[in-house]
């Protein structure tokens, strides 16, 4: 663990390795895509890591609460635990309410965002034919493409 007596900003990199950094890039510059590929090659995901971090933060908060000490540390952990909870909540399927999206499309509320686009109706009639509007839309797109050829 981190040396308690040192400010984190003053903790130096143990030993910069110029050759390694030149070949593989600095560790801290790793991009998400490369990291994901490495994890996938090992058959792993970061979900268990995040779960472990969540449990550790909860445990430390409990300890600080019981001992009544380290108020700053407790507040930090509470903030980041809350941030993680909000993040997970935003990513959960329940957070995506399809009703809202469908309603906004039907109400054409997206027209203000995309004034030059006409919405397409992604369904067919009972007899399998496209609606007149959709057929006209496709015809006009085909005509535009023909003009460009």
């Amino acid at each position: 663990m981190i040396n308690e007596g040192r400010r984190l900003t003053n903790v130096p990199d143990p030993e910069p390795d110029e050759v390694r950094d030149a070949l593989l890039g600095n560790d801290t510059d790793i991009d998400v895509e490369t990291a994901e590929k490495i994890l996938q090659s090992h058959g792993l995901s970061s979900d268990p890591l995040l779960e472990k971090m969540r449990e550790m933060m909860q445990e430390r908060i409990r300890n600080y609460h019981q001992t009544g000490t380290n108020e700053a540390e407790k507040e930090n952990l509470q903030y980041f635990l809350r941030d993680m909870t909000n993040y997970n909540r935003a990513r959960s399927p329940e957070a995506v309410k399809p009703e809202g999206w469908i309603k906004s499309i039907i109400d054409n509320t997206t027209a203000g965002l995309f004034p030059n686009h006409t919405k397409a109706q992604a369904y067919r009639g009972k007899d399998g034919d496209l609606t007149e509007n959709d057929q006209n839309l496709i015809d006009s797109i085909e005509a535009e493409l023909d003009d460009e050829r």
Binding site: N3, V11, E15, L23, I30, V32, E33, T34, E73, N76
Partner: protein, 186 residues
């Protein structure tokens, strides 16, 4: 006003674990348990979040991430030294590890020495026939050119293309080392 940054937790976790797995996939870390990669990343990250007020304070997630990586590297060194002290494991050119060997460095324990001929050969294998990648490896290991811009000038590519080659090599290096050494936890 709270200046603590909001975190993209998946990206943060992916990147931290990606680095830890790269370290743990190295043959020289066989002295420690591969399962520790998760613990190492989790402890470093939570330590940094907990001590946020001592981080500057960091204003962005990226700043926090960089501090977490340095903390993780220190923890890894401690872990290796401790494991070496519990066993008869010795590092190249050193006697039994521990505080009595202050010269012990990360490159002695974690990273392969890219200057070694056998390691160079493996690097060229990772190029998988890509001539540009071979030239890149040659430029760094033989011509001792380490600046991204200078490498780009020599190879007549853009600096971004150098970065892309580094990323490709990093991925293949981790993937390859993992296949060659040991199984990691699922």
């Amino acid at each position: 006003m709270d200046n603590r940054p909001s975190i993209d937790w998946k990206a943060f976790g992916d990147r931290l674990l990606g680095i830890a797995l790269g370290w743990f996939a190295q043959e020289r870390t066989d002295v420690i348990n591969a399962h520790d990669a998760f613990d190492l990343a989790a402890i470093a990250a939570v330590d940094v979040f907990e001590k946020y007020h001592e981080t500057g304070p960091a204003k962005t997630e990226e700043e926090l991430f960089k501090i977490a990586v340095v903390a993780m590297k220190h923890d890894l060194l401690d872990l290796i030294k401790s494991a070496a002290n519990r066993t008869n494991f010795t590092f190249d050119g050193a006697e039994k590890g521990g505080d009595e060997h202050p010269a012990l460095k990360v490159s002695d324990t974690v990273y392969a020495r890219f200057e070694d001929e056998s390691v160079k050969l493996r690097l060229y294998e990772l190029a998988e026939g890509d001539d540009k990648l071979k030239e890149f490896i040659y430029a760094v290991t033989e011509l001792d050119i380490k600046k991204r811009r200078e490498i780009a000038d020599l190879l007549n590519v853009t600096p971004q293309e150098v970065t892309n080659m580094q990323r490709k090599l990093r991925y293949r290096h981790s993937r390859r080392e993992k296949q060659a050494s040991k199984q990691l936890p699922v």
